[in-house]
Amino acid sequence: MSKNVLIVDDEPNIVISLEFLMEQAGYTTAVARTGDEALACIADFAPDLILLDVMLPGMSGFDICQTVRQTPDWQHIKIIMLTAKGRDVEVSKGLALGANAYITKPFSTKALMAEVQEQLTDHAATKR
């Protein structure tokens, strides 16, 4: 059964690249460009993993992360934060808010895919 990956980013070209990579790896994808879209998507789409940009118009990636972690039904969802702001403070903040991993832009596609697979495999293992 294929995993669902939600891509949350406001940069169209990055979204295109991420969609391509996820679909190539066999995951089902959905895209959200703002925080509100993202939260709506999570309810409908039931993602196993979210690729979450921090710099979003309106609600920030941190806010979305926090909301997901505060929602009991969504505790299983893996979150990988993607951001162009690579400072240590933001990495710590993201992890503290409950992100499973934190990847800075520009990213290596291989490293990203490895992390995504790692998170989803880990998830399956725990489930078992």
Binding site: D10, P12, N13, I14, S17, F20, L21, P57, T109
Partner: protein, 918 residues
């Protein structure tokens, strides 16, 4: 008639009793069991006011002026009411400053002035001498009266027996008695307890004697007061004595007023009163009782004056017996020898008490304030090298006593018994009244000066001498008689009894009026015209503020002296035993050993020594003596320091405090300002730091975003060589576009940095904005078409050129147009460009029909990397640097770039460029 031997024996016996009392009094004082430390003895000792004049003279005056004798006792009674205010202050000052006499008091007040002390001493001696002579005369007259037949006048008896000789012997006896009582001690501030006890006893004796005679006359010879007074009223001669102001000399209201005032002053300033009331006072609280006890004493002393006077006048044929002797002659006439003897003893006690106390007081002045200062300043005597001067001091005093008494005897001879007792007494009263301005002014008026006091005293004294003392010496044939009658140099307005034509006053009132008027007037005027010296100022405050100052204030002295020299000096005046005792006391108080621990006499010890010495030789002499051994003590500097200490210190201190608090305030203010500035600077730095941080962070973010796409697609393309061509092309295009975006961003960041740092190159030329607008529109033609945005141009045919860099202005224009296209309404996009001349500038408006900007957005739209979200993409396009750069460019050419917008009604970006003048 009494035998001369009996009288002599009785007098001897009385003197022995008196001396025993004095001796016991001194012994008990030495043993610490004082006889005189109670208010009753104190009040009785004040009774020294009542002299032979009171004892005999009151009756005499009553016989000639009726109630005219009363003012002399009313004055003190009135003054007693003011004692708590005036006398208590004088006592306190005297004790605090260890003052020994009234001369010392005046000298000390005016800067420890030797000159003033001398002046007061001279006035006191000269002024009091007639008073002492009065006592001598009284004693000799009473002795003679007692010895001769009653009913025979004194004029007759003088023929039989030399009254002069009696007076001469009386003088010697009194002088001897004064020496025995008054010059045993040296430190005058250690009270003459024996003397005071004896004087108090004498006060009792004379009161009892007078009351006895009074009762004898009133109830023995007559039937009480009513009988005597009704008989007097029946006699036409005597009746006029019972009313006031009936042309009788001394009984007019004016005379009453003047005499009352004179007596008020006398009770304060007579040397013997000062001695008893002030110097010998042991406790100023005793004054509280004396205030009513002393007037009571005076009342008792005067109850029988009128009955005795009337009794005598009624009993003896008119003019045959001197009324001054009624007290003696009435009992004698009745054959009551014992009663006469009692009266005689009373008179003797009144006379001796006065002479003893007066001579002790005067001799103290003479030795301390007159002779010592002269001797100390007289090098040939080498007083500084004498080992013990205490003996010399006592010798001076003893000689002074004898000299004063002999002087009085000489005066008595010069005046004869023609003058009545009372008149002579009033002459002395008027002399000491001259001290009133200097002393009363001195203790209440800070600005009174030494010169003022001296000028006033001299003038008052001269007028007193001319108008009162000199005429009293008159006897037939003397030059003085013509002086009195015709004035000096024959000038009528200089007549002593009618100076400047003032008549209608009795001689005493007349003299008192002029002398006090001139004295007080000059004292005030000269004081106001002269400046007090530094030491005067300091002494003035010690006197005037005596109740406000602590008894031991700041050390008045500066400088130091050798301890050995100080010891030598003290021993010279005080003797070895007293010196050692004083130093031991001083050292003990400070926990030191007086023999080993003190090497140098500091200011404190010098001050102490000066006070001790002042008790023996007076404050002025002590000051000079101590000053003579102090090292390097420039007097001016000393005085200056003293002034600084006493008068300026408080001011200086408060000024220092003020200064300090002001400085602190200033400092704290400066500190606060600095802190505020620093804090603001820090905040600004922090802000700038945050801004820089934010800027770098933002730039990094802006650079990373296209780079992320480029890297991701490059990797995808690399990893998927067999990607279908359509996608491959799509991905490659993205990479290309993102690369361009990256380049543009980098260029703009650099561009902005250059403009902001002022290193940008500007290519100035005449720019036709119409052409620039058209070119820009042309360049963006494709974009308008792509976004389906309609363009409306409103351009005049010609506008003036402006000075600018054409490419830069076009960059601004394209940026504004791009933004307009980007934000124009998606469905029906419209952009309008307007060019117009607006005053001295050309204005360009670029309006779109997009969503517009709210106020907050308008405020930040020109900030770097502030992009307003593009509703359509959810993310703004562009770099976020276009508008900031445009604004910098327009500002560079002296124009403005701004935005006007209403949310929902589009936005209009406008800029202006100035038209060059001419």
């Amino acid at each position: 008639m009494l035998a001369g031997g009996t009288i002599f024996l009785v007098v001897l016996l009385y003197m022995s009793v008196l001396f025993t009392i004095a001796y016991v009094g001194d012994k008990r004082a030495d043993a610490g069991r004082s006889m005189i430390r109670n208010p009753y003895v104190y009040a009785l000792s004040m009774g020294v006011y009542c002299t032979a004049w009171t004892f005999y003279g009151s009756v005499g005056r009553a016989a000639s002026t009726g109630v005219g004798f009363l003012p002399v006792y009313l004055g003190p009674t009135l003054m007693a009411a003011l004692w708590w205010v005036i006398l208590r202050k004088i006592i306190r000052i005297t004790k605090d400053n260890r003052i020994t006499s009234i001369a010392d008091f005046v000298g000390s007040r005016y800067g420890k002035s030797t000159l003033l002390a001398m002046l007061v001493s001279i006035i006191a001696v000269v002024g009091i001498v007639p008073y002492i002579s009065l006592q001598l005369q009284a004693v000799s007259t009473s002795f003679t009266s007692l010895w001769t037949e009653p009913g025979r006048g004194i004029a007759e008896t003088t023929a039989m027996f030399s009254v002069r000789d009696t007076a001469f012997y009386a003088a010697w006896v009194l002088a001897a008695f004064a020496i025995l009582f008054g010059t045993r001690h040296l430190d005058l501030t250690e009270h003459h307890e024996g003397l005071v006890a004896a004087i108090a006893f004498e006060s009792i004796v004379k009161l009892v004697a007078f009351l006895a005679v009074g009762i004898f006359v009133t109830y023995g010879m007559y039937d009480g007061f009513g009988d005597i007074f009704s008989r007097a009223a029946a006699d036409p001669d005597l009746r006029r004595l019972l009313v006031m102001g009936d042309g009788v000399d001394g009984s007019t209201y004016a005379s009453w007023a003047w005499l009352t005032m004179l007596s008020m002053l006398a009770i304060l300033f007579l040397p013997r009163q000062f001695q008893m009331q002030v110097v010998e006072n042991t406790d100023e609280r005793h004054l509280g009782k004396a205030i009513w006890l002393f007037p009571l004493y005076l009342l008792l002393m005067n109850i029988f004056v009128l009955p005795i006077a009337f009794g005598g006048l009624l009993y003896f044929p008119r003019g045959t017996v001197n009324a001054d002797a009624f007290v003696l002659t009435l009992p004698l006439a009745q054959g009551q020898s014992a009663m006469a003897l009692v009266a005689f003893i009373g008179g003797v006690s009144a006379a001796t008490s006065m002479v003893i106390v007066t001579t002790v007081a005067l001799s103290t002045m003479v030795s301390n304030d007159l002779v010592m200062p002269l001797l100390l300043n007289f090098p040939p005597l080498r007083l500084n090298q004498r080992t013990d001067l205490s003996g010399l001091l006592l010798a001076i005093r003893r000689i002074a006593i004898v000299a004063i008494v002999m002087f009085a005897y000489a005066y008595e001879r010069a005046t004869g018994e023609t003058t009545s007792l009372v008149s002579i007494g009033l002459i002395s009263f008027a002399a000491v009244a001259q001290f009133a301005p200097a002393i009363l002014g001195g203790i209440y008026w800070r600005d009174a000066t030494r010169t003022g006091a001296a000028v006033g005293l001299v003038a008052g004294f001269v007028i007193w001498a001319y108008t009162l003392a000199l005429p009293s010496l008159t006897s037939p044939g003397w030059i003085i008689e013509s002086l009195v009658n015709h004035g000096a140099f024959g000038l009528a307005y200089l007549r002593p009894y009618a100076l400047l034509g003032v008549t209608g006053l009795d001689p005493v009132s007349h003299s008192l009026f002029w002398s006090l008027f001139v004295n007080a007037g000059l004292f005030v005027i000269v004081s106001l015209l002269t400046q007090p010296s530094v030491i005067e100022r300091s002494q003035a405050s010690r006197f005037v503020d005596v109740f406000r100052l602590a008894p031991e204030g700041l050390p008045l002295r500066r400088g130091t002296a050798s301890y050995a020299a100080l010891q030598d000096l003290l021993k010279r005046f005080l003797g070895e035993r007293r010196t050692n005792a004083a130093l031991r006391t001083y050292a003990h108080r400070r926990g030191l050993d007086w023999e080993t621990d003190i090497v140098e006499a500091d200011a404190d010890l010098l001050q102490y020594s000066e006070q001790i010495l002042a008790g023996a030789i007076g404050s002025a002499s002590a000051h000079v003596a101590i000053t003579s051994i102090v090292h390097d003590e420039a007097l001016g500097m000393d005085e200056l320091m003293r002034m600084l200490d006493e008068t300026s210190q408080a001011i200086a201190y408060s000024r220092r405090l003020e200064e300090r608090s002001r400085m602190l305030e200033e400092k704290s203010l400066a500190l606060e300002t600095a802190t505020t500035e620093l804090r603001q600077a820090n905040e600004r730095l922090l802000e700038l730091d945050v801004l820089k941080d934010e800027f770098i962070s933002t730039v990094t973010h802006e650079l990373r975003t296209p780079l992320t796409s480029i890297r991701a697609f490059t990797e995808i393309l690399y990893d998927n060589p067999d990607l279908d061509p359509a996608r491959r092309s799509e991905f490659l295009a993205i990479v290309l576009r993102e690369s361009e975006r990256l380049t543009r961003l980098i260029n703009q960041v650099l561009d902005l940095a250059k403009i902001e740092s002022g290193t940008a190159e500007w290519d100035l030329s005449d720019v036709d904005l119409r052409a620039v607008v058209l070119e820009s529109v042309q360049a963006l033609h494709q974009l308008f078409a792509e976004h389906n945005v309609a363009l409306e141009l409103d351009l005049p045919t010609q506008v003036p050129t402006v000075q600018a860099d054409r490419d830069r202005v076009q960059q601004v224009m394209i940026n504004l147009l791009s933004n307009a296209i980007k934000f124009a309404d998606a469905a029906d996009g419209q952009v309008a460009v307007t060019l117009q001349v607006d005053g001295q500038q050309v204005r360009v408006d670029v309006a779109d029909n997009g969503p517009g900007l709210d106020t907050a957005a308008q405020a930040v739209v020109f900030d770097k990397f502030r992009q307003v979200a593009d509703r359509r993409s959810g993310r703004p396009q562009g770099t976020g640097l276009g508008l900031p750069i445009s604004r910098q460019i327009i500002a560079h050419f002296g124009g403005e770039l701004w935005v006007e917008s209403l949310p929902g009604a589009g936005a209009t970006f406008s800029f202006t460029l100035p038209i060059p003048a001419g």
